[in-house]
């Protein structure tokens, strides 16, 4: 229901799921940094994902730019959109920020619907992923590239979070008053982390578009933003590993849910509700805490 999955044989179907897991994980780790570390919320992440997909597709298809360049340009555009959204949003707290980002996502959806190529029905023939004359032809190659990019972004994120900027973000979550007293540039940090998460979402969107080669606005809706939110909540927002695990689980879920047919929306909702009620810290933090306590007991 979420993706128009290409009809493939079982083996390459697994690869397709790998690709979608990786793409979703890229958005999710960005969202984890935004929500878990900096304590900001976004209900409009699908908007940045959509900008990444559309901008990169149009630039490579209509303007003939190389795919890598289009993806980078799309990331820059998403980053600028993030600044435009973040700068005024920063005065907003909690639910006001949530609703502002939700409004942003919906506006992007309407823009794509009205002004995007092909309107509501979308457009196709988007060039495949390629770099320096080397075109990725098989899904297996795409899977390697997607997971390679995911790995690099993962390393980048962990490096960043374990150093000065990451500590500043977590401090922001803890006490803004103290951050000010420590001389942290609170506004600048918030804008930067918004931009970072938007760039992650944009890269993922571009990868998605160049892989499926056909996109329409229906892939970039509020429901997708909620799905992304679900990934990070389920996996655990306090660590980027949570985003990764959550993304894989939620992406594989439609497979398991096939048995439920029309109940899929209901099951999604129930999973989100139950994980908010009973797994509020998320799977990864809970599991690591369990393992930690087991190890401590053994050593004692």
């Amino acid at each position: 229901m979420v993706y128009a999955l290409p009809n493939l044989t079982d083996d390459s179907y697994f690869i397709t799921l790998m690709i979608f897991s990786g793409i979703n994980a890229i958005v999710a780790i960005g969202l984890c940094i935004l929500m878990g570390s900096a304590g900001q919320v976004s209900l409009g992440q699908a908007g940045f994902y959509g900008i990444g997909a559309y901008a990169s597709s149009v630039l490579s298809q209509s303007f003939g730019l190389p795919v890598v360049i289009s993806m980078l340009c799309a990331a820059v555009i998403s980053g600028i959109a993030a600044v435009i959204l973040a700068a005024p949003s920063l005065r907003l707290k909690g639910h006001y920020l949530a609703v502002a980002t939700l409004g942003f996502g919906e506006i992007i959806h309407i823009i794509l619907n009205e002004f995007g190529p092909g309107g509501p029905s979308g457009f196709g023939d988007i060039p495949a992923l390629s770099a320096g004359g080397f075109v990725l032809t098989t899904p297996a190659h795409v899977a390697w590239v997607v997971w390679g990019i995911l790995l690099l972004l993962m390393i980048f994120s962990l490096n960043m979070l374990n150093a000065r900027p990451g500590r500043a973000l977590r401090a922001l979550h803890g006490s803004e008053t103290a951050c000010n007293a420590m001389g942290l540039d609170v506004v600048g940090l918030k804008i930067k982390v918004f931009v970072l998460s938007a760039v992650y979402a944009s890269i993922a969107g571009s990868l998605y578009a160049h892989y499926v080669s056909f996109i329409s606005p229906s892939s970039f809706t509020l429901f997708h933003s909620v799905l992304l939110l679900m990934m990070v909540v389920l996996g655990g927002i306090t660590t980027v590993w949570g985003g990764l695990v959550g993304a894989v689980i939620i992406t594989l879920l439609p497979e398991t849910l096939k048995a439920f047919e029309e109940l899929d929306v209901l099951v999604y909702g129930l999973i989100l509700t139950l994980s908010l009620l009973f797994l509020r810290r998320g799977i990864v933090p809970i599991v690591t805490a369990k393992i930690h306590s087991l190890l401590v007991r053994r050593n004692a």
Partner: protein, 295 residues
Amino acid sequence: MLTVFLQFLFSGLTVGSVYALVGMGFNIIYNATSIINLAQGEFVVIGGLLMWFFLESCKLPFLLAVALTILSAGLVALIMERLTIRPLKTNDLLIMIMVTVAVAIVMRGLLMFKFGKEPYSFAAFTEGDPLVIGGAVIQLQTLWVLGITGTCILALYAFFNLTIAGKAMRACSFDPTAASLVGIPVSRMIMFSFILSAMVGAIGGIAITPISLMEYDKGPMLAVKGFCAAMMGGLGRGRGAVVGGLTIGVLESMTAGYIHSGLKDAVALLILLSILFFRPAGLFGNAAMQRLKGH
């Protein structure tokens, strides 16, 4: 020329009434709990679809169907509050908002399972020839919608200002601790605020469905527009939501008529974002109070 304008105006006021009711629903819960209940739009959908179910599918008499629909919406809200909001025990607004989003998805899933994806409608409340004012045609149901909205607003106003229960609910929002100290059952008041706002939403759904049809996935957009209405008037202030809702409805209808129908949903969103970005201080009810609280 004038005829067309009047036509757009009346259709704008009609949808605007529903936004106003949803906005009132946001205010009722916000006033009691400081929670933004993003499942607010779902109650309008529940109102429309359950009314169809009781009226067309069960063939119940009209008034009985109305009563059952409103009671069911209240029951759903009761279950929602008991099972998800109350057990949370957190002050983290982020978690609370996400829970309301999650519950909204569950409701949408249930509605889709029961009713499918088709739009539903039932007959207008009264038969009769439409009125013609300045060449514009006004369906009788439009008058019903406006009348019902007006009645709801007056009833809510009377409830919150004239009855002990209403005053107690307002006290909970000002200071829950003080309210509980003087013997107001705060948690029951919170539950009641959810039930009340659900019923208001459902009434809107019942009234509008004969005009604009109802389908399972209309909830989120209704919630966004209702929230926008509430924000325009200042979150938590009842009368503001009415003016806000009607304004959005009319602007939306004018945009659809004169500019482009695909852009009508963008109107409310743009208004919402501009209010959030440029006039948040004026919308928090009392800017001076807010500043003092900061100390």
